[in-house]
């Protein structure tokens, strides 16, 4: 059976380009998928808006729907003043969406199945929340950790809980996306591998349609998960940004 982990390996392309802090920086398949995704997104957005027509073409409709969808998410989760973060949320959503879906291409590479990528994206979100929160509200931002209308003695317990919940946000944000993509692709690979194993095992080959059907179903599920996780990431980002805008409970 094929190694289900093999698909997550980074393949080096060419020699190390340069060094940062003792680490070789090399071009990889992951980097190519990221650049491909960015090129695809930019091409889609620019082609979709080049006509600027009053009655949208198909591509322009897609672009407008994406825009309205993310804008609605930001407005409902972060409020109207949350629209200043709209470019960030939109970039995160479309970047993760396209990378997740690109991972569904057979033989492709899932950039978001690497924890360092999802952790870095979550760090962007949480650093935006902290930096903007402190810049806009100063020390008042830390009121986020102090629930109002609670007995002072209770704060001894509640403040650490609030701090832990705040720290766990970037962790859950990154692990959720990483684990979903990783687990889904491993499951797909394993069930697809069963088809080959059964066919190679003589009479057992009669059972091979079962894992095939399961693989088809799982593929559909994985496409759903790919879209859903991008949406979840964008929604949670909006909710966390809401705290940066309105730190009071």
């Amino acid at each position: 059976m094929a190694d289900p982990i093999h698909q997550f390996e980074l393949k080096t392309i060419g020699a190390p380009l340069f060094k940062i802090g003792g680490s070789d920086i090399v071009l990889t398949n992951s980097a190519l998928f990221m650049f491909g995704a960015v090129a695809f997104i930019v091409a889609l957005m620019l082609m979709g808006t080049s006509a600027r027509s009053m009655v949208p073409s198909r591509i322009q409709s897609v672009v407008e729907m994406l825009y309205e969808f993310v804008a609605d998410t930001v407005r409902s989760s972060a409020g109207h003043d949350g629209m200043k973060f709209f470019p960030l949320v939109f970039s995160l959503f479309i970047f993760i969406l396209v990378l997740n879906l690109a991972g569904m291409i057979p033989g492709g590479f899932t950039v978001t199945s690497h924890i360092i990528i999802t952790a870095a994206l979550a760090a962007v979100v949480i650093l935006t929340v902290i930096i903007y929160g402190i810049m806009a509200h100063g020390t008042h931002f830390f009121g986020l950790f102090v629930p109002s209308g609670v007995h002072p003695l209770m704060l001894i317990i509640l403040v650490p809980i609030e701090v832990i919940s705040f720290i766990s946000r970037p962790i859950s944000l990154s692990v959720r996306l990483f684990a979903n993509m990783l687990a889904g692709h491993i499951a797909l690979k394993i069930f697809a591998g069963f088809i080959g194993s059964l066919l190679a095992a003589g009479a057992w080959g009669l059972l091979s349609p079962l894992p095939l059907a399961l693989t088809v179903a799982l593929t559909a599920l994985e496409v759903l998960v790919a879209v859903l996780q991008a949406y979840v990431f964008a929604t949670l980002t909006s909710i966390y940004l809401h705290d940066a805008l309105h730190p009071g409970h």
């Binding site: 997550f8 620019l46 979709g48 808006t49 600027r52 960030l88 690497h114």
Partner: protein
């Protein structure tokens, strides 16, 4: 680096855990972070500065156009309503004027008929009075004639009975007294 990758490829599935598990291979982190920073940074700048303002401008322009069209439609509807109201007012005016004319004509005709009827009646009354007078006259004349016949008859009767003609005055006095009774 390339050799490390080859080495991991040959590790069987069960041995894929631990250091061989690619997402936890920290040697690749620096590269991934650099490319992510470049790719995502470029994407963010292009979205924030170019693509999203363009979409926003398109949507805003369309919203403006739609609201303008709606305003225009509301204005035209107002004009239509005003025209309908004016038409209905003109119709009502015409109806009331027609009714006034009809009533006036009816009254005039009724008055005319009335005068003509009254004139006719007066005429008839005159004729009736004349006829009645004629009857009265005729009656008086007839009565006069009756008296003459009575006198003649009485004279003739007396002559036959008495054999001699009475004086005319005596007979007339007798008839007059008898008639007066």
């Amino acid at each position: 680096m390339a050799q490390t990758t080859n080495a991991t490829t040959q590790v069987p599935a069960s041995g894929g855990h631990g250091g061989g598990f690619p997402p936890f291979d920290s040697h690749t982190y620096a590269s991934q972070l650099v490319w992510l920073a470049i790719a995502f940074g470029a994407l963010y700048v292009l979205m924030a500065k170019v693509a999203l303002p363009r979409v926003a401008a398109i949507l805003e322009e369309r919203g403006r156009r739609v609201s303008e069209d709606l305003d225009q439609a509301a204005k035209l509807k107002g004009q239509t309503d005003a025209a309908i109201a004016a038409y209905e007012k003109a119709l009502a005016d015409a109806k009331s004027r027609a009714q006034a004319i009809a009533a006036e004509t009816r009254d005039k005709l009724a008055a005319e008929t009335d005068t003509r009827r009254k004139a006719l009646e007066a005429d008839l009354n005159t004729k009736l009075a004349a006829a009645e007078q004629q009857i009265v006259d005729g009656k008086a004349k007839a009565m006069l004639n009756v008296r003459g016949i009575a006198v003649d008859a009485a004279e003739a009767i007396v002559q036959r009975l008495a054999g001699k003609a009475p004086s005319r005055d005596e007979v007339e006095a007798a008839v007059t007294s008898t008639l007066a009774r």
